[in-house]
Amino acid sequence: MENNYSTMKSISYTSNRHRSFLKTWRLAVISILISFSAFSKNTEKIISKFAVQQSVSGKVSDDAGVPMPGVNILEKGTTNGAMTDFDGNYSLTVSSPDAILLFSSIGFESVELQVKNQSYIDVTLMTLVATLDDVVVIGYGTSTKKDITGAVSSVSDEDLNQGAITNPLQQLTGKAAGVNITQTGSEPGSTPSVRIRGITSLLGGNDPLVVVDGIQGNMDLLNQVPPSEIASIDILKDASATAIYGSRGAPGVIIITTKKNRAGTSSLDYTSTASIDFIPKQLDMLNAKQWWEQARINGVPASTNHGANTDWFNILTRTGYTQNHTLSFGGGTNTFNYRASVSAILQDGIVINSSNKKFIGRITATQKALDDHLTLTMNLNSGINNTTSSVQSIGRAAFTSNLISNAYVMRPTDPVYDNTGNYYMDPNVFQYINPYAVAQTVVNEGQNNSLFGSLNAELELLKGFSVAGFGSWRKTDNVNGFFLPVKSTVAAAIDQNGFANISNSRQDEKLMNVSLKYKNTFADHKVDALVLYEYQSQTYQGNYAQARGFFNDLATYNALQLGDLSDVRPGDISSYKNDRTLASFLGRVNYSYLERYLLTLSYRRDGSSVFGANNKWGNFPAIGAAWIIDEEGFMKNQDLFDQLKLRAGYGVTGNQQGLYPQNSLSLVSAAGVTYFGGSQITNFNITQNVNEDLRWETKKQFNVGIDFGIWDRRFSGSLDAFTATTDNLLFNYTVPQPPFPYGTIAANVGSIRNRGLELAISYDLIRTDDITLTLAGNASLIDNEVLNLSGSINGVPLNTDYVSWGSNSFLIEGKPIGTFNIVQHLGKDDSNAETVVDQNGDGVIDQGVRSPDRVLEGSALPKYNFAFNPSFRYKDFDLSMVWRGSGGNKIYNGIKANLSYLENLGKSNVLQSAIPLGIYTSQYGSDLWLEDGDFIRLENVTAGYNFSFDDMKYIESVRVSLTGSNLLLITNYSGIDPELNLSGGNGFGSDNGIYPRTRTIALGLSVKLK
């Protein structure tokens, strides 16, 4: 089972010093759900003292000398056996001095030895270690690093980032080549985005599929996994690996395996971190004196100066705190084990009144039965996530952003309170808002409850042949309450005498699959085969209600009936329900010959309810092959390469994330109220056009890779090259009005190509028993190109190009997604209005999308990403760092443009940098605001010390660590942080004001009790 592997992985890293001894050893068969401990001929550690006939006793310890309870001892060829007690002692009577004893414990190498004349035998079991034989989870099963043919990155828990972690992805940042994790700001509860091998889809379908212990879901499933309980993260990158997930495999797959307890042992661990969070940078705005000086210069009347000196940014922010606590415990015997944990992640944001509190409880249990032929595994995870957010989108008519960015807009001369002690507002400024009043009076609370569980049953029918069934059920409930009182100073609240709303949404996701597995070795041939049927159904339901006109603010959103019920408006009440189903058949064969030539074939057939009537089923085949060169005879005489493997794979994957239920149908929905026939009636609208051809996007990917290890594997790495083309690109294509009622239509037209190179290397500069210094890193180059946006919809040709994809960024055939096609800044005219270059000299600045006055100036998409992860250990002290960066991209600094036009001075503040520019107004979004997005960030520095307490009764070990995150940012970008939304969706790569990204210092403590 996966759990056993992860146990092996979690303890395997301690054993570099036993490497020599392992070289002769090879992990044997690993099936998908059962792992057998392998046999070892190592007996040199067995200590025999004195001999007595037929009765034998002793103590079993692990390689660290810690006594091992629950170790299975079997007299070979009989059913006679015993188990070690809590102190690792055992005793049994054997049939004869020739008896052979088998000592086994999952996660350890088994030991087999003859009793001979010994009556007392102490045994040391060695932890299973195998760099080459590291288990890799490949989807519906596992393999070993040696046996895989696809591009898969695996990161086990000891390599994950440490510190103030609130989401598992933060642990993975910078750890895997081609896996780019972007955190935009540090709003409590916000999650990073991840893109695997670039942007391959346009309609938001770039999120990878997430699989947690076999349970499939989208990115929010990650939020329900306690970061400290993750044993390993495997990322399937190329199509030959992801095709097994068919119509959802194209954006890549992230597979998380959680920690399981080691069979036959008990554990009690407590880990925690506590951090303080700072704002490293804010925009430089004019202070009160400077503002008034500039206001006078620009003819702003004195009536706009209200005489105060307010630092709006400062009063809206504070020092944040993040805490993380996990208590986990487990125990069991060889046929039963469990692990339970409770985690709390508590965040107080750096903007006042923003916080996130997350609690997750989980339990997992494994039971074997029917003479170990049947294995049952159950998982149960329940989480509560409560968020108090600042307002996400608010502002005056001309400036809408998040609440904190509104602090920049405020004139520094405006007071916070007026003479009567109420929040200040200026009735002469259209839609004036006092952001401090908003932060203090708004109620914006979210509660998310999630529960998911799974049961897996695997029965071995014959040797190597097994049948398995898996079922999971996940339910998520969200409640969001919002209340905006009159005191908030927001115009909409004043108009409505305060308003409140509650929205409820529910997700119900069920999955079941049944499979047959066969695994066997015939002489030089090894076969591992799988056939599986899977059925998933997901139901989404929700409702929303809003009321206004509250007598007072006391009940906030908790009693909508206290509002003015005579004032009901269109949109106040709504509900929805929709669902999607996915039925799949899949098969996979892994074949290896002479342990040198590997072949993987997989095939999946998916049918989905969200596909159009003409395209209900899709087929997703893949092939992968590898050649393990170092096993070849001609490699025996060289000693440079310890490992050399060549991989190649091709596969077809799909992406259906961009398709929503009912997307392909022509539907009518309510659209407010109209007046007809002498009364107000509900108005109806066709909400979308029919498209019976609507289908998944098809991504065809070819990958070649090489894995190598040289100099006794001190230097190892992987290099992959790939090309991936997405066809049937799903997009809301721009169509003309007329004849279409709306400007866009959803259809499968066009294609995008991504080509890339990925390199991951690791070099042990120093490798002794006491000191290790490893320099590891990864880098990826990606070349994205929109090949084509034209095609036909319902048989009608469609010619699309130059599609607007954000502020001055476009989709242009032959260019990367988000290419800036922009007018060039020239200077100012007599009235200080910005002028731009008239490229074709016709005297007119044409701002059409294909205008000759626009020039191409790069893309919002980074061309390269890299990370450098040095780590150092001296005895019990360790130090690691993550440097990370990306570049080759441009950022349209929209908030800078907004805060630079002097025409706004009378009602708002401007940047210090706006003064030398002196631009009064502009009709253009010119390249004056286009900046390089290159950066290098010191993402994480962690120093830790491990204390071992061999002689203490209750404490086994203690680890203390100190982590600094985001300690340094090297960039030329003038905004607060160049790491912006890189989702690839419309508007990406543009900075319109973000929640600040924090700099944190975290103290970590981890205690293992005996």
């Binding site: 089923w617 539907l667 999308v849």
Partner: protein, 496 residues
């Protein structure tokens, strides 16, 4: 073991039959075919076209909200403008309209285009659904007249535009027709369908195209025929107005009123429910439910509106001083204007020094309360209905036709009626064209007719306080850049 395998194979086999159902279920919407196929659905399709007339944000609608057809046609004329303020308020799009320096990328132009074409889509859908459902001929005619109304607005603003009457058409099949061709379509469609319209006034036909609204539209089209085609049709316009007269319309009273906040019954024409005697076609408004009317709250300054209505004003629209000063002091229609000292410690100055850079002083400019807010109201608008066609307009049009046909004597009583209602004396002599032009300004200000009138009378391009003579091509708006981007076959209007 064997039995188990058999069971398993059987189970998997059964699955191939029962577990492959991936048909789509719809729970919370109506499939379009079923919905519009019914008789009720056909009616709803017609209501859906009317829903397009009411004003909403993002430039949707005929009037009532902002950034759409009304602003385009009113602010490019001489009756109102929103200046940029030296306090930083108000983007420059509105001032650009007044200064005749609008750009093909301007949002207001784009919004107007998109609104009109999505309205035509709805009208095409309604015609199709009503015909399929075998609906009453009067309803089919009503949908066709509505469509002609939207095409008339396109013809007036943009001239040479794409034309289609059935929705299932490809871009390649979509012709861009000339202003003259579109004129022929609108005229023939109206002549053919108006007789089938209902003659009912008010009640279920309040806010709808009955026969009288149909003739009113036809009269407008003929009145401007010279602009559209080069050939005047004054007699045909006169004929259409005579048909309209059969509907029995009259001027609403201009008497002093104790209940009307502006002091005269005249202003009931711009109130909550528009009086049946004079109103031919109204746009229905109930703030926050169906459409909105922002015109007074958009004009008044923050503290002034706060003091008078309880909600902060937008300090937006002003009336250029020349327009305001032309009114006679005895004219009851002058009561709608606001200048000088006001509640809320606000004093509006008569003049505006500058429209763009550095912009107008905060309280500069004459304000207007013609649509004196009626409840329900808040800071984002009020519930005043909007007069699309009212009889005073058609009396002045009739007078104009008489004068243009050389019969000024018959024009005089029509103009006199309008003047006397406004508290002025009858004319001493028969009216000239210039006189009628000015009377239209006094009577119909802020009702969205001014640009069309100025173009017909040849004054649109003339210089004013803030700009010189504008280029002749500005009498047509440019096809918006986004429409050209989406359809490469479209040809831009000359000059842009």
């Amino acid at each position: 073991m064997r039995l188990k395998n058999l069971l398993l194979v059987g189970f998997v086999g059964a699955c191939f039959v029962s577990c492959t159902d991936v048909e789509e279920q719809v729970y919370d919407k109506y499939p379009a075919n079923e919905f519009y196929g019914s008789e009720e659905g056909a009616d709803v399709a017609l209501a859906g076209v009317y829903a397009k007339i009411g004003g909403n944000w993002d430039g949707v609608g005929y009037a009532g909200a902002d950034n759409g057809w009304y602003d385009l046609n009113s602010m490019s004329a001489d009756e109102q403008v929103i200046p940029h303020r030296n306090t930083g308020d108000w983007q420059l799009d509105f001032a650009r309209l007044y200064l005749h320096s609008w750009l093909p990328t301007d949002l207001i132009i784009n919004n107007t285009w998109n609104w009109l074409y999505s309205s035509i889509f709805n009208a095409n859908l309604a015609v199709e659904q009503l015909e399929n459902a075998g609906a009453d001929q009067s309803k089919i005619a009503e949908a066709k007249v509505l469509r002609a109304f939207f095409y008339y607005l396109l013809m007036d603003d943009f001239g040479n535009v794409p034309f289609y009457t059935e929705n299932n058409i490809t871009v390649e099949e979509l012709p861009q027709i000339s202003r003259g061709e579109l004129y022929e379509f609108v005229v023939s469609e109206l002549e053919e369908n108006i007789p089938d319209l209902s003659a009912t006034k008010g009640g279920a036909f309040y806010g709808r195209f009955n026969k009288w609204a149909g003739y009113a539209l036809l009269a407008k089209v003929y009145l401007n025929a010279e602009v559209y085609t080069g050939n005047p049709q004054w007699q045909k316009s006169l004929d259409a107005i005579e048909k309209l007269d059969e509907g029995g319309f009259s001027l609403h009273s201009g008497a002093v009123s104790d209940t009307n906040p502006l002091g005269y019954k005249y202003y009931e024409l711009f109130g909550d429910v528009l009086p049946e005697d004079e109103t031919i076609l109204a746009m229905y408004v109930t703030e926050n439910i169906v459409s909105r009317n922002i015109y007074t709250v958009r004009s008044l300054s923050g503290p002034h509106a706060q003091e008078v209505f309880g909600f902060s004003g937008w300090n937006g629209t002003i009336v250029p001083s020349a327009y305001y000063l032309a009114y006679d002091d005895n004219d009851i229609r002058k009561a709608q204007y606001v200048v000088g000292e006001q509640p809320g410690n606000v004093t509006y100055s008569l003049e505006v020094s500058n429209l763009d850079n550095p912009g107008a002083a905060p309280y500069a400019g004459v304000r207007n309360m013609k649509f004196y807010p009626v409840a329900p109201l808040d800071g984002s608008g009020a519930s005043n209905d909007f007069p699309i066609f009212r009889y005073a307009d058609f009396m002045l049009m009739k007078a104009e036709c008489y004068v243009r046909l050389g019969n000024a004597a018959d024009a005089k009583p029509l103009v006199d009626d309008v003047r006397v209602r406004a508290g002025l004396s009858a004319l001493a002599a028969a009216p000239t064209l210039e006189y009628i032009y000015n009377e239209r300004a006094f009577e119909l200000n802020w009702e969205g007719h001014r640009r069309q009138d100025m173009i017909r009378f040849g004054t649109f391009s003339a210089a004013n306080k803030f700009r010189g003579v504008s280029a002749a091509y500005r009498t047509l708006f440019p096809i918006p850049t986004s429409a050209l981007d989406a359809n490469q076959n479209l040809e831009q209007n000359p000059g842009y």
